[in-house]
Subunit: 343 residues, 2 copies
């Protein structure tokens, strides 16, 4: 080893005692004379001894390392999740090894293997968009290998999951708009094949119903790409005809909302006076645009924290691995800012 780190052997040799004595002294095992203990500890200190974690892993079949499989690090949401994961892991003496799949299934399988090769004690997974077959995960789960899924839930029975309550978030957002007195609320929806999109739409519909408003399919527009231009154009189109001309917009995420806001402004309309807007996800920019955008905050780092806590419980045997599934659903928080406050 380049670093020439001192080992137990070095200490033992220098002190003319056996390796086991040193090992025991270092860990305050019973049955070591205070004198030996002292000598050993002093020398260890002096030599700056630190136990070799790799040797420990091999010996104990435990690496104190957890693997994180994530689609893309640069997604703001995922980066907050990672931050939460890292925080809890660190606090409990665990390391985090990180791999991104770039939304590719092949890559996902590959990094999964690498992590197993490295004897990770457990896995935190948000699978790729390409993943429709979950065998590579279920195989492990059948062997009681600890895995917690977050954000994206696999089609496997009895997994342990951490997600956000998308339905509730949408419901609150739309209810809020209704309470502000907006009468014709449009939904700029996400792609229908994603569960989160469907749940947000469901929340929207239910909130309208509970507010005594009609559900009009013409007021639900799909913005699958989720970029500004798409929603800019979609919004302009809405305002062309009187029958679809809305006085409020609930967008499936903040970028879509931002596009809508630009369109509204370009028509000379005022936000929130003429049109109210609420987004989703609390992107960093949303508090900085004009007017500041009301949005539904997803607790990214809490997702990471919670998922890690669950995983560590499984690893430490405080929780059955695959006994029965568990869904932890974290609450969203509606952040009411200027863009939706009419009153």
């Amino acid at each position: 080893m380049k670093l020439g780190q001192a080992t137990i052997k070095d200490i033992a040799r220098e002190l003319n005692v056996s390796n086991s004595t040193v090992s025991r002294a270092l860990k305050d095992y019973p049955g070591i004379s205070d004198e030996t203990k002292k000598k050993v500890k002093e020398l260890a200190e002096k030599l700056n001894y630190r136990p070799n974690a790799v040797a420990l892993s091999l010996r104990k079949s435990k690496s104190f390392t957890i693997g994180v499989i994530i689609p893309e690090v640069v997604h703001f949401f995922f980066s907050t999740v990672i931050s939460g994961i890292e925080e809890i892991a660190f606090k409990n003496g665990y390391n985090v090894i990180l791999c991104q799949t770039n939304e590719k299934l092949e890559r996902e399988k590959s990094v999964l293997n690498t992590m197993l090769d490295n004897q990770v004690d457990g896995l935190l997974v948000s699978y790729s968009k390409e993943t429709t077959d979950f065998d590579h995960f279920s195989k492990l789960l059948n062997l009681e290998f600890p895995i917690v899924f977050f954000d994206r839930l696999p089609e496997i029975d009895n997994t342990i999951n951490v997600t956000v309550n998308d339905y509730q978030g949408a419901y609150q957002a739309v209810k809020h708009l209704a309470e502000q007195g907006y009468k014709k609320i449009v939904h700029l929806a996400g792609p229908n094949n994603l569960a989160i999109s469907r749940k947000r739409k469901d929340g929207y519909i239910e909130a309208l119903r509970d507010s005594g408003m009609e559900i009009d399919e013409n007021l639900i527009l799909s913005c699958p790409n989720g970029d500004e231009k798409e929603s800019f154009d979609a919004t302009l189109k809405l305002f062309e005809k009187p029958e679809t001309r809305p006085d409020a917009i609930f967008a499936h995420h903040d970028i879509v909302a931002a596009g809508a806001m630009m369109a509204i402004k370009s028509l000379g309309l005022k936000i929130p006076e003429d049109v109210g807007v609420v987004g989703y996800s609390n992107w960093q920019f949303s508090s900085m645009i004009d007017p500041p955008l009301s949005t539904v905050a997803q607790p990214g780092s809490r997702i990471g924290e919670k998922a890690t806590e669950l995983l560590l419980q499984m690893i430490d045997g405080k929780r059955e691995a695959s006994a029965k599934g568990e869904n932890v659903v974290l609450d969203t928080e509606l952040l009411v800012r200027k863009s939706s406050v009419k009153i």
Copy 2:
């Protein structure tokens, strides 16, 4: 081990050969009969044998793992760097273990030790804001341990670094403001112990000078925390007195710029007509705020990629560790948006 992964021993036992034969057969060593080779490989395949990376690390004193020490994962810039790192590491069969310091020196030292305990083959470091004493790094460098610093350069001789040309980025930004006809350009600067802050300030000063403008220390404000409130307050204060009242602001990053923009708007002033603003780092939100923020783009993932390439070269012995320093400086790009276009 929970997974009950097959080992070389299992294969050897079942085939009635020795461990070494299996090991050699698996790696196509010369001097193994084709027949044995075939038998071994088939059984390995059948048992789904995968080498235990931990055992390999111990045996070879090489872990194929690199450690990344970073202030905060949620910084957009850092997340792009991580992404670049992960990409190159993966491509070369290396794992990435990730720790964030949250800008705390204590934490930095702690994670550094953890990584060394885990026998990482090398380190990619962007140190914390609190770090002014670099002993914990120089000690390692003296032992020829491979480290590449990125973004924030330590005050150590002969290190290998990857940065962005912060001076140039700042220079371009301020020159641009001057060319737009702004006359009194304030700099909201970062903490002075970071080289990047100092370089951005130098670029600012030089650009002013080259534009024939006075350097006024009262027009350089420190915003060390880098959050919105800080710069909001600082900006308000600037506008209180006529002698510090600016007509343009160059902020050391986009969040600081965003805070300044809010302050400017709150005073009823117009951007870019009354006050021009340029930020730094091209955060995701900067194109979406109103008006869109001009900013200096740093090639985050290229920094990560380059730093990782250099580190792997050092690890593989293709490059001297500490022979002599090397500075790779990547170019920034000025993105001119609405917030600074007066003409």
